[in-house]
Symmetry: D2
Subunit: 430 residues, 4 copies
Amino acid sequence: MPADEIAQNPPSPLSSAFAAVLDSVLEHARPEASGAVATYIPELAVQDPEQLGIALASVRGTVHEAGDSAAEFTIQSVSKPFVFALALEQHGLAEVMRHVGLEPSGEPFNAISLDEQTGRPLNPMINAGAIVSSSLIRGDSAEEKFQVIGAGLSAFAGRSLDVDEAVFESEVATGDRNRALAYLARSAGTLASTSDVATTAYFRQCAVNVNARDLAIMAATLAGGGVNPVTRERVVREDVARWTTAVMTSCGMYDASGEWLVRVGLPAKSGVGGGIAALQPEQFGIGTFSPRLDARGNSVRGISMLESLSERHGLHMLEHRDAPLSPIAEIAIGSPGAPDAASGTPHAADAGDVTAVLRGELTFGDAEEVLTRLLPILESGRGLTLDFAAVTRVGEPAARIFEWASTSLGETSGGRARVQLHDPAGVLGG
Amino acid sequence: MPADEIAQNPPSPLSSAFAAVLDSVLEHARPEASGAVATYIPELAVQDPEQLGIALASVRGTVHEAGDSAAEFTIQSVSKPFVFALALEQHGLAEVMRHVGLEPSGEPFNAISLDEQTGRPLNPMINAGAIVSSSLIRGDSAEEKFQVIGAGLSAFAGRSLDVDEAVFESEVATGDRNRALAYLARSAGTLASTSDVATTAYFRQCAVNVNARDLAIMAATLAGGGVNPVTRERVVREDVARWTTAVMTSCGMYDASGEWLVRVGLPAKSGVGGGIAALQPEQFGIGTFSPRLDARGNSVRGISMLESLSERHGLHMLEHRDAPLSPIAEIAIGSPGAPDAASGTPHAADAGDVTAVLRGELTFGDAEEVLTRLLPILESGRGLTLDFAAVTRVGEPAARIFEWASTSLGETSGGRARVQLHDPAGVLGG
Amino acid sequence: MPADEIAQNPPSPLSSAFAAVLDSVLEHARPEASGAVATYIPELAVQDPEQLGIALASVRGTVHEAGDSAAEFTIQSVSKPFVFALALEQHGLAEVMRHVGLEPSGEPFNAISLDEQTGRPLNPMINAGAIVSSSLIRGDSAEEKFQVIGAGLSAFAGRSLDVDEAVFESEVATGDRNRALAYLARSAGTLASTSDVATTAYFRQCAVNVNARDLAIMAATLAGGGVNPVTRERVVREDVARWTTAVMTSCGMYDASGEWLVRVGLPAKSGVGGGIAALQPEQFGIGTFSPRLDARGNSVRGISMLESLSERHGLHMLEHRDAPLSPIAEIAIGSPGAPDAASGTPHAADAGDVTAVLRGELTFGDAEEVLTRLLPILESGRGLTLDFAAVTRVGEPAARIFEWASTSLGETSGGRARVQLHDPAGVLGG
Amino acid sequence: MPADEIAQNPPSPLSSAFAAVLDSVLEHARPEASGAVATYIPELAVQDPEQLGIALASVRGTVHEAGDSAAEFTIQSVSKPFVFALALEQHGLAEVMRHVGLEPSGEPFNAISLDEQTGRPLNPMINAGAIVSSSLIRGDSAEEKFQVIGAGLSAFAGRSLDVDEAVFESEVATGDRNRALAYLARSAGTLASTSDVATTAYFRQCAVNVNARDLAIMAATLAGGGVNPVTRERVVREDVARWTTAVMTSCGMYDASGEWLVRVGLPAKSGVGGGIAALQPEQFGIGTFSPRLDARGNSVRGISMLESLSERHGLHMLEHRDAPLSPIAEIAIGSPGAPDAASGTPHAADAGDVTAVLRGELTFGDAEEVLTRLLPILESGRGLTLDFAAVTRVGEPAARIFEWASTSLGETSGGRARVQLHDPAGVLGG
């Protein structure tokens, strides 16, 4: 937005809380002068090295942006986890694992890294594995495969992405090493198409244009279990999103993935176009863009911004949260929802029955806590009503435990189930 | 508990919800007949191969057990993450990283795996790195170092652990390969003591006796951010627990860590004594025991039980939870806590002011959601009270955002802060 | 020769000395029942596994044969040293070394084995290096390159070799791994043509038909310093033959080259067609044929025959020979060739002059011996005539030493050169 | 020799032929200013970096020297092939190969390089393999082992060598990596003593003082089949000398052994003390000394001198020699040694019998040539006498062929053996 427009429309103070967060990490990274724009193809070499942008998309669909978040660049290797997810969606984990492994290679992006016994590329984040992922996508020709890939990446991004044809041509012209990797996988029986079909689809996928906002939304789609938070479209299944996030966690940063997980804790994937997609599972996707790369091929200032976000704002995926309050908010004699509610029921609650008001988000661990703590009540022979009215959500494993308690623990002397569930909002699910 | 005692004291139906979970995974694993007891030292070879136990400890301190959960065995490599944590606690991450790396090696436990440039063992979960961890523990002699290590492991377990002296002697007698690894690290300048001191301390640490319950509590201490959930003692700092969990996540299962994270998602460490410690961050520690090992040296039935727990009960650390309800439970005109509360305040709430009742556990992402959604209210000029009474907890990054809103967004025309925080339970901290 | 012709011309008893040697090693190997015919292409799988032949060609051009020495098979990897020699002949050692290394890889034939720094295949005996050799041969197209290669192999063999077109087609159809190696070399900048041109030429070269006799003569051409001993045609320069022999010595047997040199000492190269070419430098080329291969892809019975030849007949290239007699056969007062010879010379030999009759093949070491031993004669002031009449040959470095002595050591009091060379047969060369 | 002594005793002109060769290669190397003295122990760091010496010892026992050929330095890794030879002498090849491999490692001297399957160090020229060699030497203690080693090295050198105790102490003090290699070998079951005994013996062996002249004689002992050419003592068996030379050929120059064999062709072993021992089998040993080392730990100017010797003087072990004259010097009617000789024999030679005068050094190949060329004579029914009077030597495989011809080819019509051997000098052996 031009300066005079800003003067007329001052940014709303509230939204600027998040703009301030992003601006701050962006300006913190700006002075980083090291690194160089990728030059292996001329199209990348002409990028303005000073471009710098960031976007953050929540799993609820809000997107915040700062800097050159709308500047386009080619997605390159950032496409790898998303195409891997598409392959998983089509074939399932077992079948995909017949073709590509899940282990960190401790090696650079273009390493050969085929497993000696199986011939599988070690993981889908290195080129060899990514080409195998592309080969697994449905379609006989490179065109058919790319149609699926392009549509899938667009669904992740929530808008129709196009291809930078000049970059694609250059990739084709300089792609001998990738062709070698494809032939190696082919000769090991792990490539699911001809070498030429796989590499052509892969080169095209690498040349897809995106911006930092796109990457944020794509990552947020994984963070949100496979549903694009902006379009609300389910792009991949929940398990596919989880598997993909797991592989980004262990292999996303090539030979520095272990240290990245320790220090930053945001599963991420970078590309030589200057982009990085990262996520905090369940919460955010983040996209960064800055073309200067370090020796490993990662965007220098993109890395810096993600480090800041993790360190300053506690976004590490393993960040410990203070012990929550007990999931039991209150224990009271009587039924929830007042006297009149009780009166219409076939078996009136016994006088000494107890209602436990639960709260928060209930995990398997919370279910364990609730039942363990309330055990003495049941042992004393009284009925127990669990009140879920103030509960935000109940995980499926926890819900199963509560239902088991309700149906299996027998009845009180009054003939009521010993454990009753009061769930006006239906958080226990079907 | 002996059989006749059980007959007299039938397990309470409620606690048996969790006993049932553990019994079920235990019985599911029992038929696994493959694998063999470790034989590299005679003391391990005499173990009863059929022993089978599991324990689960919540971060709130409850421990559930099934099978031979009280049977003792030597901790062996399960000690590695905990001694690594002790080294981190004493020296910090940067200093420890001068001595040992954080990258998966893709190699077996006894691999040499020293980084070519730095001479550091690739990570602290392989023997070479574990010996370096032990060398970093304070103390000049092996005895002094082990005193610290033994005390630390005991603090993790919440009881005083002792050493199986016969196993220790056997480790000393057969430890040439570990001595070789120590000398390699020493010659590379990464060992922090003499080779003999480091290996003696390490052999002793491997010979510490534990049971499945101990391992569950030790792991729960990491899951709970460094505080032993039973003794309530802080054993290591929060960041140390996070770093250690991260290394277990990426390197804990040797050359199968990537697949383990994808399929099971419970950071874990196994030992040739038959034990495994695993955890779901923020929720649980799990200890398993079964002496028969697979070719990689992992307990066959321990692995099986952890797989069941993850698959059947959704305990994968990256398991997606259904999108929570909005953190905003209700929006109402007026102040919380009723009319009389308003009347003594210097600046009465304006008639059109709005109260938003928040709920659940509020993360950075929730703070973002709250402020973003309520932006139109503020833009309309009305005051906004955020009511935290029903909020279970607020993460520190989120709390900072709410405080920023309260102090920085100015006043209403009535002179009140435009954003007021109603926090009767003090969940915002500070 | 047909059976009835043999009946009329029984083998001469003398030539059967060598037939007996070859028959003996052949029959010794015949019972070896292990190994299996190559099956990666159908054309190889149909070979009669029991075929067994051997031929031995001396550097003087005699060829002895036994068994199925005339049976044809495809040359496969046995072509590698010879095409490497052709590349050396065209480009010289320095240029070829820019494209391919000379170090043993310790790896199987189809290993990738590219040097990390330079991208060069480690040596020309593994597939990657052999494809680079083929790419270096002059010619723009695969056809042009193969024309040169085919002519070169034919020159080595001394007859026009043709291609098994069915095998060639199969190689093309199954050659993905070799294509991968070519693309890797291409992307590393070490392939001297397109990948397709190099692999097509290489596949064709592997499909050239030869028999054991051909391989013996090809190897004898290297043993004889580059001259085909049968046709007397110089195929490659002496230095090229030496370099090629050196590479066969260090890298010819893949990951067992070191042990082969210790135990057998006959530089060799095998092919999956069942052939092996081996040589004893300066003396022999040997060709063997037997289609059953061991796990490394070497002909089981070919290996056995070469081991027998080395062990029983002392053909190890480093076999120690008993210390030769002194190169000085006799020392006499006076000139060689009798009194009358002396009389026509301008400066009659002094009465006390000495003639040393030399003998044998004189190396640099012999020249050292001669001059060192005869030093006292010269120091005593007498003239010395070195008589080369009975000398079989004089190496060039030795000849240079004798000439230096003759021209640089001054004159006797009688005005004759202090050291005179009597060389009626001209063994000292120009 | 001091300068004034030289003035009084000018070098004899004849011996200076070889002095000139050595001086020339020495002065050619002198300007090489690159490299640095080893500094890993202080005792090596104080060496005068400009020292430069060379010595050449023939298998006949003459030693030529130039420069600082008498300056002492510690033998270091040059001891490896000689101690390997001592181990072979004591245990034989098969037993030694159970402990150490024979394959080039393609890795630096201090690489770990243990075979994955067998645990054997890849070859005896890297430290791990050399320590295993030392462990194999007879003796229970390090002292006993070193007594054998010291005596063996002294026998190779032809004089009693002593130990630089200060260097030995430093090796002990800094030897952690070597201790690691010993423990690795020990744990793999390939070390034949305790780790401490093996490394102590090895450190002591490395600290033996030698000079360039010693190294030349040691290498000449290998070149001469195991007999010290100066003392005439047999130090090791012929086969041991051959096996040791073979291992130096394939593994002596660490990761550049292949290129060294192609370009220089003098099996060699260098040490960080600045020495190199090299040899041309059957002819020479060469010792060089110059303390400045290249990045691989090889003496810069030592390498340069060996390259000059090979290139300028044709000393490459695979150097092709011009085709020798025929081994048949002359064919004449009648018996050798004149009419009177014939007359005492029981069966007078037939009138048409033929005498072939042989010459030179007769190999298996020459025997083949002789019998093949003379076949027509025998086929014509005439007797054949082979005259060995002018033959310098006959290899054992060749002698066996001649004897076979003499005893197996029947008799002439006159009752004489069809093939008679005239061997006045007994070159055909027993």
